[in-house]
């Protein structure tokens, strides 16, 4: 087990090196990617400024609290996109139609690892950093303080959220095995994960249960931030851990099921 993890980490770092070389191979496009990411960041900030210039509170969040949430969402989505989507799950439909998935299945290394965590994307790193800056500004301006228990709970729930987002990505993207040419399925998965940027209060009644239990986007960003800012109790932690375990398990089973279908039906 430990051996296996260190082997996969070693391969991942090799791939990170390869990915870095590939991204910088075309220098102008690398710089362009970074500029695009910065553009997104600026648009997001303007968005917050515009909303809060009209109202002081949105579903109970002040402007600076909303900035913390937004910064956290930037960090979260950049991690998910950079690690699992941009060079990985997004290319799954293409790999299936071109038959490159066969090359993956031949390798003595886990196929889910190869399609979902193979090649990290580095140009999203600046956005991640700017997300952290936004979080710091939010905390500095809002005077909100947290204790060590809140902080550790926040970290753990945030990690659970990452695992859930990853699992949803696997499940939704794997549907592509049944729908040839459904190139947009990974995009759909991303759109679902992007819902996590909203404060949980925007989902009333039925929607709250849907986005807490079935498509648990609330656990990804809103819940950990609410715990960190004292809006929710640290006792949410076991719930988040159980949900992450369930989704990780389901996504693994679904991936293997989808592969079985692929190997029976493809030619």
């Amino acid at each position: 087990m430990v051996n296996n993890i260190s082997r996969y980490l070693k391969i991942w770092f090799k791939m990170a090196g390869v990915s870095m070389q590939l991204e910088t191979e075309y220098r102008s496009s690398f710089i362009l990617e970074i500029l695009v990411e910065i553009g997104f960041f600026v648009v997001t900030l303007i968005n917050i400024a515009v909303i809060y210039s009209n109202v002081p509170l949105v579903v109970g969040w002040t402007k600076w609290e909303a900035m913390i949430l937004m910064g956290m969402y930037m960090v979260f989505s950049e991690i998910v996109l950079g690690l699992a989507f941009i060079f990985n799950l997004r290319t799954l439909p293409d790999k299936i139609t071109k038959g490159d998935l066969d090359l993956i299945l031949l390798k003595p290394i886990d196929s889910q690892f190869q399609v979902s965590l193979w090649r990290p994307y580095f140009a999203s790193f600046p956005s991640l950093l700017s997300g952290i800056v936004v979080i710091f500004v939010g905390f500095a301006q809002s005077q909100i303080r947290f204790n060590i228990i809140q902080f550790l709970t926040f970290i753990l729930i945030f990690l659970c959220g990452l695992l859930i987002a990853y699992s949803l990505g696997i499940i939704i993207s794997s549907l592509v095995f049944w729908f040839i040419n459904a190139d947009s399925l990974p995009d759909l998965a991303e759109e679902v994960i992007f819902l996590s940027g909203r404060p949980s209060g925007v989902f009333p009644g039925f929607w709250r249960y849907l986005f807490l239990l079935i498509i648990p986007v609330i656990i990804m960003v809103s819940l950990p931030v609410e715990v960190l800012t004292g809006k929710q109790s640290v006792l949410w932690l076991p719930f988040a851990v159980i949900m992450a375990a369930i989704f990780l398990f389901l996504s693994r089973r679904f991936w293997l099921f989808a592969l079985r279908h692929y190997s029976s039906a493809s030619s």
Partner: protein, 327 residues
């Protein structure tokens, strides 16, 4: 002992039928008629260690499907298959480390990086020890004569150079079994020949078991003592290459150079005229009658040169596939 054992392999695909036009498309959304395509239908064979076997058949014969089942990419519909003692489609890493599948039309190398980067990555994936990696790489590099292009980006290599690099990437873990699906496709004649020499040398040197599919008869003729012919998912022939001629060609070719005019009609009385381009002509005759007919020709007509030949293996195989009578 056989390394690969295939017993009664069947692989069917379910496909749905669609009526033409838009109305057909809409109808097929709600109600679909399915039927089975029999890609492989009851194929059996055994392959022993160190064999180099040619796998031939027209497009859609089931060659690639069979290779994909053997390498664990496809679940068969039915049949008992064992490769190196493993059930291929369980895709156990211990099994996957012992074979390689090279598909002429697919590449695993990183396009924008030098090939050496892909080799290093494969070394990690296949857990090849450092010493063994260095030794294997050196051997392959000198066999294929690619020392000077290891550090050139793959996109800047020619197709032939790229194929050599693909082979190194596929062989860096010293597989016991090598499946080659159309390895010479698209290569020029010189490069095809080099590739063949390499495959032969690799087979001898490392006692690797190799199954090769190819459209080029030359590949098979030069490399494989044994061939397996499949068509429409069924096994037509399994044996030595030269046996094909004996089994399927019940005729021989008599080619003659005439020093005087002879009409096509006269030749047609003796056998089927295959070529009529005076002074040269070729007729096809029943195997057993070849000597008598040749004697008759020599007796009746002025002839400068006469040969009795076995038909070309390509022709025999083509005739087998089209199911036509040869004589």
């Amino acid at each position: 002992m056989s390394l690969i054992s295939v017993h009664n392999l069947q692989k069917f695909y379910r496909v749905h039928q669609k009526e033409p036009g838009l109305s057909g498309s809409i109808k097929s959304l709600f109600h679909r008629k399915y039927y089975d395509v029999k890609a492989v239908d009851g194929v059996s064979f055994e392959i022993g260690e160190g064999e180099l076997v040619g796998f031939i058949g027209p497009n859609g014969a089931g060659k690639t499907t069979t290779l994909k089942v053997l390498s664990g990419l496809l679940y068969p519909t039915s049949g008992d298959i064992s490769v190196l003692g493993y059930i291929p489609w369980e895709r156990k890493p211990a099994f996957q480390k012992q074979f390689s599948l090279v598909m002429g039309q697919k590449n695993q190398l990183w396009w924008d990086l030098p090939a050496i980067e892909s080799f290093i990555l494969n070394k990690e994936i296949y857990e090849v020890p450092d010493d063994q990696y260095k030794q294997t790489l050196n051997e392959l590099v000198s066999l294929l004569e690619v020392e000077d292009i290891l550090k050139v980006q793959v996109r800047k290599l020619s197709l032939g150079q790229r194929m050599k690099m693909e082979l190194i990437a596929a062989l860096i873990h010293s597989p016991k079994i090598l499946f080659l699906d159309e390895p010479t496709i698209g290569l020029d004649v010189v490069m095809q020949k080099k590739m063949r020499e390499f495959i032969k040398a690799y087979n001898r040197k490392f006692r690797a078991t190799i199954i090769l599919t190819s459209h080029y008869m030359d590949d098979v003729k030069e490399l494989c003592e044994r061939v397996i012919i499949i068509d429409k998912g069924r096994l037509l022939f399994d044996g030595r290459l030269d046996e094909i001629t004996r089994k399927y060609a019940d005729h021989k070719l008599i080619s003659a150079v005439f020093s005087d005019h002879i009409t096509r009609a006269d030749l047609a009385k003796l056998g089927t005229v295959k070529e009529y381009d005076l002074p040269k002509a070729v007729i096809s005759v029943k195997r057993a009658e070849a000597p008598q007919i040749a004697a008759k020709l020599l007796e009746k007509y002025p002839i400068e040169d006469l040969n009795i030949e076995e038909p070309q293996i390509e022709d025999v195989i083509r005739e087998v596939f089209t199911g036509r009578d040869l004589a």
